[in-house]
Amino acid sequence: MRSFTHQQLSLTARCLAAIVGAYCFALASSFGMVPILINMFDSLKADAVYFATLYSYIFGFIAIIYVFCRRKAWLAWRDIIIGCTSFMTIHFVGAIG
Amino acid sequence: MILSYLLQLFALWLLSMAMNKHFRHSFKRTLSIRHAQMLSKFGWLLLAASFACLVNNELAPLMSVYWLSFLALNILLVALFNSWQSRHKIKRLAANSQGAVV
């Protein structure tokens, strides 16, 4: 019985990660990709923002699949948070530079 | 365009024939590995040829949409054709074995 509830909890955590976490990850990527595109691919700012937003879906999609493949639900959450933070860091660093 | 369509259909049929199960149902004998490899190589080659002869003009993006649509239709056709054929085969086998018992 206890394992059953644990399983349910894990499933809920994963679903939440897939919905909320993946969207947040996509959102973070739409910010974080802008400095990357500008500095590494010499894009104009308008192009970079446009492309970053278009590509964000791909990141979101990867996140959804990833969340369901990770061994433990909390690991999935941890990785999503790491991903989000690193993209946002790039965004802030890029904004300063 | 029609040429490409037919080439693609034939290529897919060859590819399906490269699988032992389908080959047995169609030709009533097993398929050697060498033959299977030949069939599949030839099939892929024809598939590439059908794509090349469709895309080889200035409307390449539009034509690749055509090619993919053809692909969808042709896979369905080949799948249905093979299944229909193997069903007939099974029925005939069943009829034969019944005859033998009587």
């Binding site: 802008v34 923002v49 | 399906s16 699988m19 649509s69 369905l76 299944s83 069903r87």
Partner: protein, 501 residues
């Protein structure tokens, strides 16, 4: 949950498909119908008539505009096409600082004004498939979520139906349930590119609604400002204030257009901007027959003497990428053959979703002793979602023919009939035993589809006779499609009766 990748994928496929399956089915059916949007509109507005357009009706239209709309701020001619016999003139008259809109629909052969019934035509299906009739209540967000779910379902489906990739091209025909599973898999495979492009482009189309944060952060006015930065358009027209007479002999422009756009019937729309000014401009828009992008190609000419003016620069890559996906989604480039192929793939996707939903239930029902609420819900929603939608669609066509033409807000009434029918089927599905509900509703659907062409003839036989006389294959094709759909429903009904006895 076990961390095994394939098991996870199967679970994901099952529940991502089930959760929004009915919604996806409705979106795909109405979206597939939208491939024939102009044709459906043509059938639903039979007053447009079957007499084909004349090639020189541009000049006649211009003469008419010159007569009726002196001093207008713009003239516009939407030409009749092979797909929709709708010739519409519109113009704007300056009225205390603003311009008031006027428009008239003409018979494309005789150029007599027509009184067209108030109906949304095929546009209803088009808007329903992304707003779900909930435009102001987040309908488009819901459709966006459904599109993402579809992507997830496709991806996980590849792993779920792995067996099918191994013995490719096999549909086991000896057992109904196995046939259904295999058909689901084979259709799934052939529609991977189709569903993928459609879902992804659906997400791209409303990108400024689904993912606006980055744009809003970087630009003050958000997506609007960004779009203006990456798009190109004709230079802004500044009226000189010097009066001039507009060009009413279009042949001068037509020969120049022919040089650039050699294909027949290249012109979709002709608009005169500030026709009574010396800086006035003629903008000719091209049919999207040859390019995937949804950017409409235009040529500009002076409205005084027809000399060519500066055109539009090619757009930046970022914008082009979205434009191409938009164009692929709308498929306005498709010629008649490709259109039928796309329609076939759309129908296949609908079958894919429907068979998936039915499989979920049939796999579980024989195994469980005690049915729980979930089984009951899925069973009933299957009925309402699949047959109910077919019935609702045909009820929309019936409403188009049977509602009184003088009714106020007639177009809205037609949509209400669609929704009410659907709701009624939903209630019916919940109160009847499942098998009986399936059979009765299927029979009703079949009869409704088969009877509609007959009802049409009874109401006004002249429409059909005209269509026959002038070879209006759009009208006849629509009737034919109704008969085929009805026939298939009837066949399915008899098959189901035999099967479940």
């Amino acid at each position: 949950m076990k961390p095994d990748f394939r098991k996870t994928m199967i679970w994901l496929h099952t529940y991502s498909g089930l959760l929004l399956g009915w919604l996806l089915f409705a979106i795909f059916v109405t979206g597939t119908l939208s491939y024939f949007n102009p044709e459906i509109s043509q059938w639903m507005k039979p007053e447009l008539g079957s007499q084909r357009a004349d090639s020189n009706n541009i000049n006649q239209s211009l003469a008419r505009l010159n007569n009726d709309a002196q001093g207008a701020t713009y003239w516009r001619i939407n030409l009749a096409t092979a797909r929709n016999n709708h010739l519409r003139l519109s113009w704007g008259m300056p009225e205390n600082g603003k311009s008031s809109r006027h428009s008239v629909t003409l018979n494309s052969k005789t150029l007599q004004p027509l009184e067209i019934r108030d109906s949304q035509g095929g546009n209803f299906f088009r808007s329903f498939h992304y707003t779900l009739q909930l435009r102001n209540y987040g309908g488009r967000y819901l459709a966006g979520i459904a599109a993402m779910m579809m992507l997830v379902a496709i991806f996980s489906g590849i792993f779920t139906h792995r067996r099918f990739f191994r013995d490719f091209f096999t549909v086991r025909l000896n057992n109904v349930f196995k046939t259904l599973t295999d058909l689901h898999a084979v259709i799934g495979i052939i529609t991977i590119p189709f569903c993928f492009v459609l879902s992804l482009s659906a997400l791209f189309i409303y990108i400024s609604m689904y993912m606006p944060w980055s744009m809003d952060h970087h630009y003050e006015k958000g997506s609007r400002e960004l779009n203006a930065l990456v798009s190109t358009s004709l230079p802004k027209l500044v009226p000189a204030g010097i009066a001039a007479k507009p060009l009413t002999d279009f042949d001068i422009v037509l020969s120049k257009v022919k040089q650039q756009w050699p294909e027949p019937n290249a012109i979709k729309r002709i608009s005169y901007q500030q026709p009574f000014d010396i800086n006035g401009r003629i903008v000719v828009s091209r049919h999207k027959q040859l390019s995937l992008s949804n950017k409409s190609e235009v040529l500009a000419f002076s409205s005084v003497d027809g000399r060519p003016l500066a055109g539009v620069e090619p757009e930046r890559n970022a914008r082009m990428l979205r434009r191409i996906f938009y164009g692929l989604h709308e498929a306005l480039f498709a010629s008649i053959g490709l259109r039928y192929l796309l329609f076939f793939m759309g129908t296949a996707s609908c079958l894919l979703i429907a068979s998936g939903l039915i499989m979920w239930l049939n796999k579980r029902l024989p195994k469980v002793k005690q049915r729980h609420l979930g089984h009951f819900l899925v069973e009933r929603l299957n009925i309402a979602g699949i047959v109910g939608l077919m019935l609702a669609i045909v009820s929309y066509f019936y409403a188009n023919r049977l509602l009184d033409l003088q009714l106020a807000q007639r177009a809205e009434m037609e949509v209400s009939v669609f929704l009410l029918t659907w709701g009624a089927v939903l209630v019916y599905a919940f109160v009847r035993p499942a098998r009986r509900a399936w059979l009765e509703l299927l029979l009703l659907t079949a009869i409704a589809y088969l009877a509609l062409p007959l009802v049409d003839v009874v109401i006004n036989a002249q429409w059909l006779l005209d269509a026959l006389q002038y070879n209006n294959w759009i009208y006849l094709g629509f009737d034919l499609a109704l008969l085929i759909t009805g026939g298939l429903a009837l066949l399915f009904y008899f098959w189901l009766v035999r099967r479940t006895q």
